[in-house]
């Protein structure tokens, strides 16, 4: 009894690390230091500011690793005033046996009350960031001595298996719904393959449905594997055995899906036109020719549209200047002057002056000659 009490006390001190840094103190607590692979370990972290002459904030993270999987269960952060306190609880599942190190990243962020207040006072168009001086605070890794599982173990935890098959008789190729559920506490029992993909039957399956709730006691999971089986003749679904290990009781056990015999009645093919699978074609399929002709028509239409635009452009080129007709239609000098004034073109200044001199002065000009001169200018 005395020896047992001593063991418990020594284990408690081993699992608790209390350290004092420059501005803060921190405590790591783990509920077990020698877990099995995939056995739940609860890690508790407490960070307390000890130097109250500055405003301090913490940014703590567990570094990702292949050696373990983790999940945060609880967090309490008090950043008010100069008494920062952080309390985190993590659920960790070691994934490798032997000595593993759980490593951490801690960032110490020093700021001021003004900066904290300022960062909250910005509006939508004037966002003000919190100004901090960040310093990484090195934390020693937490070491776990992980025990290996008995050989052939697939699941870790305390699970029970239930299977459900609604009917044992069906027509040929009629799907037979079949469902297997694994439920219990432990590392989530998600398996890549439960049954072989193809046996003497066809199996249709989808991704397993996983429902998990993590707590300080571990993870409660229900994993359901929905399937459907199909065949054209009777067959037997073989028995499946899954080896599991309960780390709390330190005992191995087996979950079994019992063998199932399924009766398939043959389909009546006498009334069918095609009595054999994949019969040969009765006539040639010329639908590709129709598609090809359709493409050719569309291509030709597009090509001709492009050409027609070009033709239209050419005809536009041939159209004479709009002034030509107007000038030719002028019956007297006054109307010709009007047309030239409306044209707003410096090239006709000389013509305007001549017409002006004739209309309002003593000069004499020939209307036809004038029109000819202007038409030559236009051309």
């Amino acid at each position: 009894m005395k020896n047992n009490l001593g063991k418990i006390l020594s284990l408690f001190f081993l699992g608790m690390i209390l350290l004092q840094a420059e501005d803060f103190a921190y405590t790591f607590k783990v509920d077990k230091q020698n877990p099995y692979i995939k056995e739940a370990v609860i890690l508790t972290l407490d960070l307390n500011q000890t130097s109250h002459d500055k405003v301090l904030l913490f940014d703590f993270k567990i570094r990702q690793s292949d050696a373990y999987h983790f999940q945060r269960l609880d967090s309490k952060e008090t950043d008010t005033g100069r008494h920062a306190q952080v309390h985190y609880v993590y659920l960790i599942y070691p994934l490798k046996s032997g000595k593993i190190n759980i490593t951490f990243d801690l960032l110490k962020k020093v700021t001021t009350e003004e900066s904290v207040a300022y960062s909250f006072s910005g509006d939508r168009d004037n966002v003000k960031g919190l100004v901090t001086v960040d310093t990484p605070a090195p934390l020693p890794p937490l070491q776990l001595q992980v025990k290996a599982l008995p050989p052939g173990t697939t699941l870790v935890g305390n699970f029970k298996l239930t299977e459900q098959i609604k009917q044992h008789k069906a027509e040929a190729y009629e799907p037979l719904p079949f469902q297997v559920s694994i439920q219990g506490k432990g590392y989530p029992p998600v398996l890549a393959t439960l049954f072989p993909k193809e046996g003497n039957f066809t199996r249709f399956s989808e991704a397993p449905l996983v429902q998990s709730v993590a707590s300080r006691q571990g993870t409660e999971s229900t994993v359901t594997y929905p399937m459907a089986l199909s065949h054209d003749q009777s067959f037997t679904l073989p028995s499946i055995e899954i080896k599991a290990f309960n780390p709390e009781a330190e005992k191995s056990y087996t979950l079994t899906v019992p063998a199932q015999h399924l009766e398939i009645s043959k389909a009546d093919v006498t009334a069918l036109v095609d009595k054999s699978d994949s019969p040969k074609r009765l006539k040639a399929d010329w639908s590709w020719l129709k598609t090809l002709l359709g493409y050719l028509v569309v291509f030709t239409a597009g090509y001709l549209t492009a050409l027609s635009w070009k033709w239209r452009k050419k005809t536009y080129k041939g159209v004479s200047h709009p002034l030509v007709q107007k000038v030719q239609n002028c019956q007297d000098e006054r109307s010709l002057l009007q047309v030239l004034m409306a044209a707003d073109d410096q090239h006709f200044d000389a013509g305007i002056e001549k017409l002006e001199a004739s209309l309002y002065g003593d000069a004499k000009i020939s209307l036809n000659k004038m029109k000819q001169e202007i038409l030559e200018q236009i051309r």
Binding site: K326, R334, L337, Q338, M341, A342, D344, Q346, I352, E356
Partner: protein, 315 residues
């Protein structure tokens, strides 16, 4: 033609090759106290022309590049605090000049455009509680770039109306461009000398006032402007669905003044219908608002003006 005008044109041609329409438009604006809006791509000698004109008449000229962050005080001026004697002094803005080039006026927001356009109309500036009259002549040549429409503040019609003329400046001919290229390469552009002073300019303006315009032509001007408002009355039914708003009475005034100035620049002491024809497109093109239907058809105000000129009988 008046000798002084000939001299002035000759002097300007030393610095500006081609662009006769722009030079003539500027001279019309200068002689008739109007302001000019120029639409053209960059590099068409707009600044050069303004500088050459100011040098040739011995006037002061300034250039403001309009930008979206420009403030009214940047152009009209502001009150500056002097901490040494605790007093405020007036710092006059670049508006206080004779010839002002407002480059890319549609780049500045409406409040800056309004500040400038108000000064153009009133010819006086109020800074704090002090009002300053602008020296005469005061001519604003504002430019707009027709190829960029992103991030611009288009001038509203009411403000466009304050410009006497809108000139559309085109590229020079190949021969002119060759001459520009050679002169620029050899730096052989001659120095523009002052051939006119402000007093002589005033005399020219007085002479311009004496140019005769017949009553029939006065009626013709009014009819041309009325035709933009009531097309059906003048047998212009084809235009009735094309015009949303016709030209304002300011257009009649400016067309009258511009036609007289054109006649004067041509060396005549009287106005002919051709003088009106020479300037009507420049005076009206920014004052007629086309309907959505007309714009959808790709119609331009110049086409509307041409149709009106062609239809209304000249005296």
């Amino acid at each position: 033609m008046n000798e002084k005008i000939t001299l002035l044109k000759t002097e300007l041609s030393k610095a500006v090759i081609g662009q006769k329409a722009m030079i003539e438009g500027l001279l019309i604006g200068l002689l008739s106290d109007g302001h000019i809006l120029v639409e053209g791509v960059p590099g068409l000698a707009k600044t050069t022309t303004i500088n050459a004109l100011s040098s040739a008449i011995g006037l002061d000229s300034k250039r403001i590049q309009f930008t979206p962050d420009l403030l009214p005080s940047d152009i009209i001026g502001a009150q500056i605090y002097n901490p040494q004697d605790h007093s405020f002094s007036i710092k006059k803005g670049p508006l206080f000049t004779n010839l002002l080039l407002a480059d890319e006026i549609n780049r500045a927001p409406a409040k800056v455009q309004s500040a400038l356009l108000e000064v153009m109309q009133e010819r006086q500036v109020t800074i704090a509680d002090e009002t300053f009259k602008l020296d005469r002549p005061f001519l604003v040549m504002a430019t707009q770039n027709p190829i960029e429409q992103e991030g611009v503040y288009a001038l509203p019609e009411a403000q466009l109306d304050r410009f006497m003329m809108k000139l559309v400046v085109h590229h020079n001919s190949e021969e002119e461009e060759l001459e520009i290229m050679r002169k620029a390469a050899t730096k052989s552009f001659a120095e523009v000398e002052a051939v006119l002073n402000i007093e002589e300019l005033s005399v020219l303006q007085e002479e311009l006032a004496q140019v005769h315009i017949d009553k029939e032509l006065e009626h013709y001007i009014v009819q041309l402007i009325s035709a933009t408002r009531d097309t059906d009355k003048f047998g212009l039914e084809s235009l009735s669905s094309c015009i949303m708003f016709g030209a304002s009475p300011r257009a009649s005034i400016d067309l009258y003044k511009a036609a007289k100035a054109k006649a004067f620049l041509r060396g005549n002491s009287f106005v002919t219908p051709a003088d009106i024809g020479y300037v009507i497109h420049n005076v009206l093109r920014h004052r007629i608002v086309l309907s959505y239907e007309a714009r959808a058809k790709g119609m331009k105000t110049d086409e509307v003006i041409s149709t009106i000129v062609e239809t209304l009988p000249i005296p």
